[in-house]
């Protein structure tokens, strides 16, 4: 990933969902995971677009899985986070924690 390029919010959520789901991560469970954890609806198309960007950056790899009749014969695409992706998540976490730290407005529910 080029220096200075930041992860978008949905990209970060998708990466975190991939870490949680492990090898069974494809579009539908990734969407469910994001919705469950964030409490917001995630459109499948947006999640796929984010995953495609992440794949372009080398943070995610994908492989085609099985196709079933219930999917109209279309194969699933399984996604997996790469080592570079893990590094990027940790770096983003550190950056966000540093930004958070020492902000009294965001501590203890004070606004």
């Amino acid at each position: 990933m080029p220096r200075g390029a930041y992860l978008g919010e949905l990209e970060l959520m998708a990466l975190l969902a991939l870490i949680r789901l492990g090898d069974d991560a494809y579009g539908v469970p990734i969407c469910y995971e994001i919705e469950k954890r964030s409490g917001r609806e995630a459109a499948l198309g947006s999640v796929y677009a984010a995953l495609e960007r992440l794949e372009g950056k080398g943070l995610v790899t994908s492989r085609l899985g099985e196709s079933t009749a219930v999917r109209g014969g279309r194969a699933k695409r399984y996604f997996r986070i790469t080592a570079q992706g893990m590094r990027e998540v940790r770096q983003t976490q550190r950056a966000l924690v540093n930004l958070w730290r020492g902000l009294p407005e965001l501590e203890g529910g004070r606004a």
């Binding site: 579009g27 499948l44 198309g45 796929y48 495609e52 196709s67 109209g72 279309r74 194969a75």
Partner: protein, 333 residues
């Protein structure tokens, strides 16, 4: 057996849902829809995919659009010079002779466009846009296709002018510019931009089944797996069907299969239909049927005259309103 999503949304998604993982995304949407999501949910998702993909597709197509526009723009001064000097002259002749000449020139024009593609890429085709979309990141082939697209657009513009001048009429400067811009918009730019006019990048298994049914014929005898209430799973094929059912010794399965005077032949046809649907896809992974699904499959088979009809034309006798409903809301077939 399975719910079908709104046909219009599926069509739009196939044509305009541009993401590279389009087939996987379409499969995910279908899976979710069949897991109980509404037609409205399917429409929202499909429109979101299209809205998200359109700008990205335009960006990916930009070099191609630039090539065809540059090619067409390059022929414009040449055609204008020809027009200014009154060349070529209109050929005198009867109507039929002109029709023959027009057809001959059309064929020559197609050859002039297709021959360079054959020589460089080894394919008799002028469908360069799908080639450009499918070429991936091979820089040399990409550059070749772009050069061919520019040439194709150049030759099309020049040939169209010559064709009109020779066969039809001579036109004023205003008419010349009007026709040139009309040809460009209708025959060069619109087909390059509007993907609905081009074949989708990936054809779904359902589309393949409808257009080329012989490709979907299973390579082996269709069988279905049935999950019994006690947790066992049995395989039902058309051979030894009754034997398999009685060997399972499950009263519920026996009731579903033969209750209400159902014949063995009906059951055989149902197994073929269910097995066909499970196996006729890319990786031929069979689904497991519950007893309720098996009962629904038998009912569906009983309602149709032949299995082939059930497979290929399940909605042949639908009314106009029924068809509209399938287009916008899907159904539970």
């Amino acid at each position: 057996m399975f719910r079908r999503p709104p046909a219009l949304a599926v069509w739009l998604l196939d044509r305009l849902g541009y993401t590279r993982q389009n087939a996987a995304l379409a499969g995910d949407l279908l899976e979710e829809f069949r897991n109980g999501r509404s037609a409205g949910w399917y429409w929202r998702q499909a429109l979101a995919v299209i809205a998200d993909g359109f700008p990205r597709q335009m960006a990916a197509l930009a070099p191609y659009l630039l090539a065809v526009t540059a090619g067409y723009a390059a022929q414009l001064p040449l055609s204008y010079v020809l027009w200014s000097s009154g060349f070529p002259r209109e050929v005198a002749g009867t109507g039929w002779a002109k029709v023959g000449l027009w057809a001959l020139m059309q064929a020559a024009g197609w050859f002039a466009s297709a021959a360079p593609v054959k020589w460089t890429l080894g394919e008799w085709s002028v469908r360069l846009r799908p080639m450009f979309c499918g070429v991936g990141t091979e820089p040399q082939k990409r550059a070749t296709i772009l050069a061919l697209a520019g040439y194709d657009s150049f030759s099309f513009g020049l040939w169209s002018y010559c064709l009109c001048a020779v066969v039809f009429w001579h036109f004023s400067q205003a008419q010349f510019l009007k026709w040139e811009s009309t040809w460009f918009v209708l025959w060069v730019f619109a087909p390059a931009v509007l993907p609905a006019l081009a074949a989708p990048a990936t054809r779904s298994a359902e589309a393949v089944e409808h257009r080329e049914p012989w490709l979907a014929i299973p390579q082996r005898e269709p069988v279905i797996t049935v999950a019994l209430p006690d947790g066992r799973a049995i395989l039902l094929g058309r051979d030894r069907l009754a034997e398999s059912i009685y060997a399972a010794a499950d009263p519920q399965l026996t009731r579903v299969a033969f209750g209400g005077g159902k014949s063995l032949d009906l059951l055989r046809r149902a197994v073929w239909l269910g097995g066909y649907r499970s196996m006729s896809h890319i990786e031929r992974k069979a689904e497991t049927f519950t007893l309720a699904e098996l009962a629904a499959l038998i009912d569906e088979t009983a309602r149709t005259k032949s299995v082939i009809e059930a497979v290929y034309q399940p909605k042949r006798r639908e009314s106009f309103l029924g068809r509209l409903k399938v287009w916008f809301c899907g159904d539970s077939a």
